[in-house]
Symmetry: C2
Subunit: 324 residues, 2 copies
C-alpha cells in the first residue's frame, strides 16, 4: 500500500481507505490509486488486514465427508450465501471422528475465523470449551438439540424413523428389514424405526447394520444379508437413498418384484431417487435449505443481531413414489 500510495501521490492510509470504503476518498485520488494498483499488480494482504481489524472474513466449516453429497450440498448452499457477503470458507473433513474434529477445531480457531459451521451436535467437551471461549457464532447443522453451543439447524432424526414405521404400518407390510450405514445419525434413525415398528404391532424385523459408509455395493450386500437372515418380504428401511438403490438392484437381479414383494424406503431424496426404476420412496430433507438457513442466521449474528432462535427445525417429509 505504501508503494501504491507513493505512485498515486498519497499516503498508505488513503490507499487502505480507497479499498475498504471508496466513498471516503475523492474521485480524483481514487482514480489515481486504481491506476497505481493496476500498474503494480498489487494484491492486498488479507492476513495483515485481519490481524489489524480482528475480522478475518473467514468462516470455518467442518463436515464428516466432502465426497458425501448430503454434506457437500449443505456446504455448497452455505458457502454461496456466505460468499455473497464477502466471506470465504475454510473447509475440512472430520471423517465422522470426534477426536479429529477437536484437533481441526483448534487448528481452524487459530486462524481466527469469524464464525464456525459444524456438522451435528456431538462434540468433545474440549471442543465445546474452545468454541465457547472463541466467542464467535457457531452453527451446528444437520441435527437438533435443546442445548446447542450457539444455534443449530436441522431436523429430528429419530422422528423420521418413527414416521417411517408408521408409514410401514399404514401400508400393512408383513415384516420389515433395516439396512443402515455406520454413522451415528443413520443409526439413530434406524433404531427409532425398529422401536416404533415393534411398539405398534406384530411382524418380524431383520437388520443389517454396516460399520461403513452408504454405497450402492453395501446396499446390495445389505439386502443379501437380510435374505440370509430370513427376510421374506415387506419394507426395507434404508439409512440412505444410495443403500435403497442398492437394495432395489439386488432384489431385481434376484427376480424379486419391487414394490410387489420388496418395498424400499430411502433417505435423503437425492437427485437420482426420482430417476431410477422404480422411483424411490424416500424421506426428503432439504440439504440446501439447511445450508441457507445456517448462513442466514449466522449473518444476522455476525451483524450483531443475537435474537435469532437457538433451534431451527426444518423438518422432513416422506415422499411416496413407486418403490413402496
Amino acid at each position: 500500500m505504501e508503494t501504491v500510495g507513493r505512485l498515486a501521490g498519497v499516503s498508505q492510509v488513503t490507499v487502505s481507505r480507497a479499498l475498504s470504503d471508496p466513498s471516503k476518498v475523492s474521485p480524483a485520488t481514487l482514480a489515481k490509486i486504481h491506476e497505481a494498483i493496476a500498474q503494480t499488480g498489487f494484491v492486498p494482504n488479507a492476513l495483515a488486514g485481519a490481524l489489524a481489524s480482528s475480522k478475518s472474513m473467514l468462516i470455518s466449516a467442518l463436515v464428516p465427508s466432502i465426497t458425501n453429497i448430503v454434506y457437500s450440498s449443505m456446504v455448497k448452499a452455505f458457502s454461496e450465501e456466505m460468499r455473497r457477503e464477502g466471506y470465504e470458507i475454510l473447509l475440512s473433513e472430520t471423517g465422522f471422528n470426534a477426536e479429529e474434529e477437536e484437533k481441526l477445531i483448534a487448528a481452524h480457531l487459530s486462524r481466527r475465523p469469524d464464525a464456525m459451521f459444524l456438522t451435528g451436535i456431538h462434540h468433545s467437551a474440549q471442543a465445546r470449551r474452545m468454541l465457547l471461549a472463541a466467542e464467535i457464532p457457531v452453527a451446528e447443522v444437520w441435527d437438533i438439540t435443546d442445548s446447542p453451543i450457539d444455534f443449530c439447524v436441522g431436523f429430528n432424526h429419530a422422528e423420521t424413523g418413527r414416521a417411517a414405521a408408521d408409514f410401514a404400518r399404514r401400508k400393512s407390510y408383513p415384516q420389515v428389514g433395516v439396512v443402515s450405514a455406520g454413522d451415528e445419525r443413520a443409526r439413530r434413525r434406524s433404531e427409532a424405526f425398529l422401536r416404533q415398528w415393534h411398539r405398534s404391532g406384530e411382524g418380524a424385523s431383520v437388520s443389517m447394520l454396516f460399520d461403513a459408509p452408504a454405497t450402492l455395493a453395501n446396499g446390495r450386500a445389505g439386502f443379501r444379508g437380510l435374505l440370509d437372515k430370513g427376510f421374506t418380504g415387506g419394507l426395507v428401511h434404508c439409512s440412505s437413498d444410495l443403500l435403497a438403490h442398492g437394495v432395489i438392484i439386488e432384489a431385481q437381479s434376484r427376480g424379486l418384484d419391487v414394490p410387489g414383494r420388496i418395498a424400499v424406503l430411502g433417505f435423503g431424496d437425492q437427485p437420482f431417487a426420482d430417476a431410477v426404476e422404480p422411483r424411490i420412496t424416500t424421506v426428503r430433507v432439504d440439504m440446501a435449505a439447511f445450508g441457507r438457513a445456517a448462513a442466514q442466521s449466522m449473518l444476522a449474528r455476525l451483524g450483531g443481531d443475537r435474537t435469532g432462535p437457538p433451534v431451527i427445525d426444518l423438518g422432513f417429509e416422506i415422499v411416496e413414489r413407486e418403490s413402496t
Copy 2:
C-alpha cells in the same frame, strides 16, 4: 503468548519457540509453558504467525463444483496429503466459470496461500498473471497441457475419446450415440470420440449435447433424444458414468436389451459403476491418484525442490464390464 510466558516465568519468544520448535526449549520450561497454555486456554494466532513468517500453511483450492464426486474425491485425496504436513485447505467453487475463477483467485491470493490447486488448464490471462506474480507452486489438475502455469497432473481427455472409438470399432457396433454434459472437458472427449469414429469407418452417429451437469435424469433424457434422432442400436458414449447409468435405465425401461441392443460406455469408474445391473464399462481415471500426485509434487516444491516434471500424465484405462 506474553500472558502465557508471564505465567510460566519466561518471555514471549520462548513461548513461541516452545510451540514451533520444542527442541529449542529445555524440558523443564516446556512443561511450565504447556501448563500455562492449558490454564489460559491459549490458542495461537495463525494470522499473526503467517504475517510474521510469510508462511501461511494455507493451500488454496478451486474446483468447478464440490458436489461433483469427481472433483470432491480429488480434493479429498489432495487435502489428506497436505493436512498430514500441516497445511489447511481454503476451498471454493468456480461453477465452471472463468470469470468467477479469476475473482476467486484474487480473493484467495489476498490470503497469501503457500500454494494453489486449480482444476483444469484454462484460466483467464489476468488469472495467469496474478498466479505467476504470486510466485507460489500452482497445480493444475484433471487435464494436461504443454504449457502449465507451474505444473499439471491429469490425462489427455481427447485421447480417451479416441480410445473409446477404437473400442467401438473393435466390437463392431453398427452405429454410435453420444450423450455429453456441458463442461468443456466432457465436450472434448465426446468430440474426439466422434472424429475418430468417422475417421475409422462407416456407421452413423447421433449426439445429445447437454448444456447442463451430468445427472441420471439427463442420461435418461439423452437416450430418449438419441432414439428420437433415429438411433437404432449400437454403442452410446457417455461423458460420465451418471449419464451412462441413466441411459441404461431408460433403455431397460423401454425393453431394449443392454448390452444386446444398446451398449453403453461411461466415464470415471465411479463406485456405483461396478454395482449396477449390468455393470458399466467405463473409462477409469483414478481421481484420488490425481489429488495425491498433485500433493506430492506440491510438497516437493514447497520444500524447495523445483526439479519435478511440469507435466504428470497419469493416463486412463478402459474397463470392460457387462454394459458393452
